[in-house]
């Protein structure tokens, strides 16, 4: 019996993900048949992760690497893959899963794209996991991949997906109920991380604290933003935890509004340990802020 337990433990899929969000969904689907580890932490900017050799040790042993894609990880993941000595996780290999292929992607640029537009994502906005429907698609793609790699547990993964889907359906009703009074409200965000979230819950992004992606706020842009917010009655500024709050706080003070530090990823704060808690946390924070600002 001990040998059977050991054999079962030994056959766990070793999954490494680029972000905590993919890790959280992988745990939902994989249960005790997988071990999951994330390279980026939920409270750090996923564009700027360092390619530390300690991550090489994780990747070296991985059976599956899950990435957000759309060049979100282009600044740090390729040297880790190249130097991992693991053929399974190279781009295009069976152990490489780009979840962007399965999701609704917004803001795919059309026409000419140059870096005069800032640090744009030329393949579309990569923050797509912030729509629960995409979370469902991610989960389904992960279920299919896990089942393909570990067919003996396919029924288990299917049952875990069905349970995830059921709980997500229930949770969406609660989230929709909480956000429905605020549909149509305008918000300003620091970085363009929220199009999927805002689209899903009916918020309109009226501007950004950054003048362009990756460019810090300038005095002239900040003044324009303040004037625009006053003109359009925008009071709420959504800021990720890894950005400085001085400019958002100053803008909020000028317009009589409020800054809300929303978490774009699982693990952004200690209490967010699952995909569901990510939306619970952010929606509760938003609802309280909107209620205060009415």
């Amino acid at each position: 019996m001990l040998a059977a337990v050991a054999a079962h433990a030994a056959s766990k899929l070793n999954v490494v993900t680029a972000t905590e969000d993919l890790a959280a969904i992988s745990r939902e689907i994989g249960g005790d048949r997988v071990t999951v580890d994330s390279i980026a932490k939920g409270y750090q900017d996923p564009h700027f992760v360092e390619s530390k050799p300690s991550f090489l040790l994780k990747l070296q042993k991985a059976d599956l690497l899950e990435v957000v894609g759309l060049q979100l990880e282009i600044g740090w993941l390729p040297p880790l893959q190249t130097n991992s000595r693991n053929s399974k996780v190279q781009v295009g290999a069976n152990g490489y899963l780009d979840l962007s292929q399965f999701c609704q992607i917004l803001e795919i640029p059309t026409g000419q794209i140059t870096r005069a537009m800032g640090d744009v994502h030329p393949l579309g906005n990569p923050h797509y996991w912030l729509d629960p429907e995409n979370g469902r698609r991610i989960a389904k793609a992960i279920q299919n991949k896990f089942s393909e790699m570990q067919s003996a547990d396919a029924a288990y993964f299917a049952q875990r997906y069905a349970d995830f889907d059921r709980r997500l359906n229930e949770a969406e009703k609660s989230w929709d109920a909480k956000m429905s009074p605020f549909r149509g409200r305008k918000v300003v965000t620091y970085h363009n991380s929220w199009p999927n979230f805002c689209g899903r819950f009916g918020l309109q992004v009226a501007g950004y604290v950054e003048p362009k992606p990756g460019i810090p706020p300038s005095p002239s842009h900040t003044l324009e933003l303040i004037n625009a917010m006053k003109r359009d009655g925008v009071k709420l500024i959504m800021v990720e935890p890894y950005f400085d709050l001085r400019t958002p706080n100053s803008v909020a003070q000028q317009v009589g509004g409020e800054v809300v530090q929303l978490m774009p990823s699982v693990g952004g704060v200690k209490e967010i340990t699952s995909y569901f808690q990510l939306f619970d946390y952010d929606i509760n924070l938003l609802a309280a802020a909107f209620a205060k600002l009415k």
Partner: protein, 446 residues
């Protein structure tokens, strides 16, 4: 009259079944189109599942009316729609083109250079990078530098990424794994120049950069410790470091690299290096021993605003040279210079870095450096010529730096540098640098 009245009524009555038939036809056509769309979607998903992830993402539904998307599925067995004919458009062949980048490095200098021959203004280097996956087993990285003095291949190597046993094999022309600074391209240095020890003992900007083979392995180590061993074999030609007079004058480099996370924000790198090859100055060897250490701090929640890196390298050399630096001259002497640098770089704002560096390096007074400093030695083959002595002299320097990053694709740097050369000259200089990056340059190793 009756016929007149009845005719439109009859026409209407007849039209109803006809209209109903039209509606039925319309519904059938809509159903067929729906089936066709589903079939095409399934084909796209199947094709995409077999393509690299870098291909464009797919919009599955318009933003205003998101709809559930079926998961990837094989094409339906009983597809009634006609198969799509023809391959992808010709432009799709460009997907296999390498990533192309160009990084420009403009340098300026003012002040008293102490007879060091660096120009006042210079388009110092434009590095063109070509990088691509070759096949499931290897990738290629080529970096060509265009300078005012000409074109050279800085690095061009192929890496085999899928070897068993945690090995990695590289072949081509590459910067040797001696220390840390020697592995760095100009545009990723935190200074406008290289430390004195690199200029005096390790070939300067050109460095140990040669054609050869490299094998490295991640060595099993206690949990939390990353240990990598590298062994390299080169032709044996690196300016001011090695010269291969014949095929057997190969050079070797061995490097052991250890890394540990002290916390999620702080980590330390320590390395030991050894290299040996044929001396450029005698029929003997040149050996270099090196120790390097790098300490980094970058708090994850504030990583784009604050960071600190402390770097140091210590190099000991044993260089054979002949009197007058004539390799064929009888008698071989040995110079044993030692040099080191210590530097720190602190990021105090999203775009601002402050740095400082201390340099000290010995060198044989008659041995060349890169860039050149004026030497009092002359090579003379005439009978009776007595070669001057070649004592060790010591150069000492210090720099203060300020770097501004308008974006992650450009840098502007100023450096105040003071150097006291062993011959008694002192240089006080203001250096400035612009670095700009175009295209898709891959991230360099950590």
């Amino acid at each position: 009259m009756r016929a007149f009245m009845l005719t439109p009524i009859a026409a209407c009555l007849l039209a109803f079944p006809a209209a109903a038939q039209d509606t039925a036809d319309l519904l059938n056509r809509m159903k067929a189109m729906e089936e066709r769309i589903k079939s095409l979607e399934a084909e796209v998903q199947t094709l995409k599942a077999g393509q690299p992830a870098a291909a464009a993402a797919v919009v599955l539904a318009p933003p205003v009316a998101p709809a559930p998307v079926p998961p990837p599925a094989p094409p339906p067995e009983q597809a009634t729609a006609a198969p799509s004919l023809g391959g992808a458009a010709g432009g799709a062949s460009k997907v296999f083109n390498p990533d192309i980048s160009m990084i420009g490095d403009f340098l300026g200098a003012a002040g008293n250079s102490g007879n060091r021959h660096t120009p006042s203004l210079e388009m110092h280097e434009s590095e063109v990078g070509l990088q691509a996956v070759i096949d499931p087993y290897a990738r290629g990285d080529v970096f060509i530098t265009f300078g005012e003095q000409g074109v050279s291949l800085e690095e061009g190597y192929f890496t085999f990424t899928s070897l068993p046993g945690a090995f990695q094999f590289k072949v081509g022309k590459m910067r040797a794994a001696f220390g840390r600074v020697n592995t760095m391209h100009n545009h990723i240095l935190p200074w406008t120049d290289r430390p004195l020890v690199t200029q005096d003992l390790v070939g300067g900007e050109d460095g140990i950069d040669d054609a050869g083979l490299s094998i490295s392995r991640i060595i099993p180590a206690p949990k939390g410790l990353f240990l990598e061993g590298t062994a390299q074999l080169f032709r044996g030609d690196s300016t001011n470091v090695f010269r291969a007079a014949q095929r057997s004058d190969l050079s070797t480099v061995e490097h052991l690299h250890g890394y540990r996370d002290i916390s999620e924000s702080t980590n330390i790198d320590i390395g030991g290096s050894y290299t040996r090859g044929h001396s450029p100055y005698a029929d003997g060897s040149n050996q270099l021993f090196g120790i390097d250490a790098t300490l980094r701090w970058k708090p994850l929640r504030r990583s784009i605003y604050r960071s600190f890196a402390a770097r140091s390298e210590f190099v000991w050399a044993r260089t054979a040279y002949s009197p007058g630096l004539v390799a064929s001259a009888p008698g071989t002497l040995t110079a044993t210079p030692f040099g080191y640098f210590v530097s720190g770089d602190y990021q105090f704002g999203r775009r601002w870095f402050f740095g400082a560096r201390f340099d000290r390096s010995e060198r044989g007074q008659c041995l060349p450096t890169n860039p050149e400093t004026t030497q009092v030695c002359a090579v003379n083959l005439s009978p009776g010529f007595v070669a001057p002595p070649n004592p060790l002299v010591q150069d000492t320097g210090g720099s203060l730096l300020l770097t501004y990053w308008p974006s992650e694709f450009s840098q502007i740097r100023g450096q105040l540098r003071r150097t006291s050369y062993g011959e008694g000259r002192t240089a006080n200089e203001l250096l400035f640098q612009f670095i700009l990056s175009m295209g898709a340059h891959g991230a360099h190793p950590f």
